[in-house]
């Protein structure tokens, strides 16, 4: 039985229709498959990011603890220990003196003990981790600025502008660590005399700026060549909390580091784990 040319064409059209329809269904199935793979890949990447975030957070906490312990150790060795030794010497000398001189030594020792008490209180306040959880970022930075100013090496302007609002504890912790890193860089390398530290609380943006009038450096080159561990750390930490870092510096013209953060969209990783409070 021979088919007419028209019949053959109709068959051709029929099979063509089936082919088009199969392509359509095939495309949709392929799309579903690719999309599912993409979803899985995204989930894996997000999990990795969460793990990295927690790792960095832990590292930050450990660094703060180490720094605090070092600070306590230095303070005990260089200050409190020395003063207590002096008090001991005073009191041991007192037994051979007459009553007037004894009273003088006792008064002197009492004065020194008062100093030690004040120093111990300051030391207790400087247990930074505890402090940041309890008192927040501005108060903790203010405390550090005060300590730094007491050394007499720096003239510091500390400015808080805008309506203060609380950031996530973890974000404040990372911001504090960034601040510490910036200050460490200044102490180690800048030979600066004047510092300007500002916290700006805008509704849409939070800025932490650390500025010095020290030696400065070629910012573009250092960042491009990934030199400078301190700056690299600051940049990594800033990106960890979804903030951006801006460095303005050139040789002999000081340095300005600004960390900008959107307070409503802050961390890349969003989970509800709070920082367990505890001393540094």
């Amino acid at each position: 039985m021979r088919r007419s040319p028209e019949q053959a064409e109709i068959y051709l059209l029929f099979f063509l229709g089936i082919f088009v329809f199969s392509c359509l269904v095939g495309f949709i199935i392929y799309f579903i498959f690719v999309y599912r793979n993409k979803q899985l890949k995204n989930d894996r990447e997000k999990d990795q990011m969460v793990a990295q975030y927690h790792q960095e957070l832990l590292k930050t906490r450990i660094e703060i603890q180490e720094q605090t312990l070092k600070h306590i150790s230095d303070e005990i060795h260089d200050n409190i220990g020395q003063v207590l030794s002096f008090i001991k010497l005073n009191l041991s000398q007192a037994k051979n003196l007459d009553s007037g001189q004894k009273q003088e030594k006792i008064d002197e020792s009492r004065e020194l003990i008062s100093h030690v008490i004040v120093d111990l209180r300051n030391l207790s306040h400087s247990l930074s981790f505890e402090h940041i959880v309890k008192h927040g970022l501005p108060e903790t930075i203010k405390n550090d600025v005060q300590t730094l100013q007491n050394t007499g090496a720096y003239d510091i302007d500390f400015i808080i502008s805008g309506q203060h609002y609380s950031l996530d504890q973890r974000i404040e912790l990372v911001l504090y660590r960034i601040f510490q890193e910036a200050i460490n860089n200044i102490i180690k390398h800048s030979k600066a005399k004047h510092l300007k530290i500002s916290l700006q609380y805008f509704p849409e943006m939070f800025n932490l700026t650390v500025e010095d009038d020290g030696l400065g450096f070629n910012a573009g080159e250092i960042l491009k060549n990934c030199e400078g561990n301190g700056l690299k750390n600051i940049r990594n930490r800033a990106s960890l909390i979804g903030a951006s870092m801006d460095v303005n510096s050139s040789p002999n013209e000081g340095c300005q580091i600004t960390i900008s953060l959107n307070p409503s969209g802050n961390s890349q990783v969003n989970d509800n784990e709070a920082i367990p409070s505890g001393s540094g």
Binding site: E9, L13, G17, L24, I28, I32, V34, Y35, K38, N42
Partner: protein, 158 residues
């Protein structure tokens, strides 16, 4: 596609209206600014082409297949762009619960079926064949389109 003395003016109006509404839907669904602008810029010349076609080429008694070809080809292109957009930025929600997936599928399946139907209709008409099945194909295309859009609306409300 001449369908006798019956007036098909409603198709002429409906097709233009459908194109405008679909373009607006795509405009709000696209995330890339360039594609948004592209779809919006194309809106006016295509509509003008549709009106010119209805006035000079395929008048009231003729099915506006020229305009249907243009608009459905654009729907096909837009739906593929929407699929690419979904692939590039996947979200955690199950794909079958995403209204955008159902909308994109509606605008993929419908133009393919419509374009095939128009092609087949022209062939059947030229060879004086029974066109009943082709009309059925038009109806099926429309049913599938509205069912998919219904699914999209339903998941969008959830």
């Amino acid at each position: 596609m001449y369908l006798g003395d019956k007036t098909l003016i409603n198709y002429h109006i409906f097709f233009i209206l459908q194109y405008v509404l679909a373009t607006l839907f795509f405009y709000y669904s696209f995330s890339r600014l360039e594609i948004k602008i592209f779809s919006l810029v194309l809106l006016i010349p295509v509509c003008i082409a549709g009106v010119i076609n209805s006035v000079y080429f395929q008048k009231a008694h003729t099915y506006p297949s020229n305009f249907a070809l243009i608009s459905h080809s654009l729907f096909l292109l837009y739906s593929l762009l929407l699929y690419i957009q979904m692939i590039n930025s996947p979200i955690k929600l199950n794909l079958f619960k995403q209204s955008i997936f159902w909308s994109a599928t509606a605008f993929l399946v419908f133009p393919v079926l419509m374009l095939s139907s128009i092609g087949l209709y022209n062939y059947f008409e030229r060879h004086k064949l029974d066109e009943t099945y082709i009309y059925m194909l038009f109806y099926i295309a429309n049913y599938i389109f509205y069912i998919l859009l219904g699914a999209a609306l339903w998941f969008d409300r959830k």
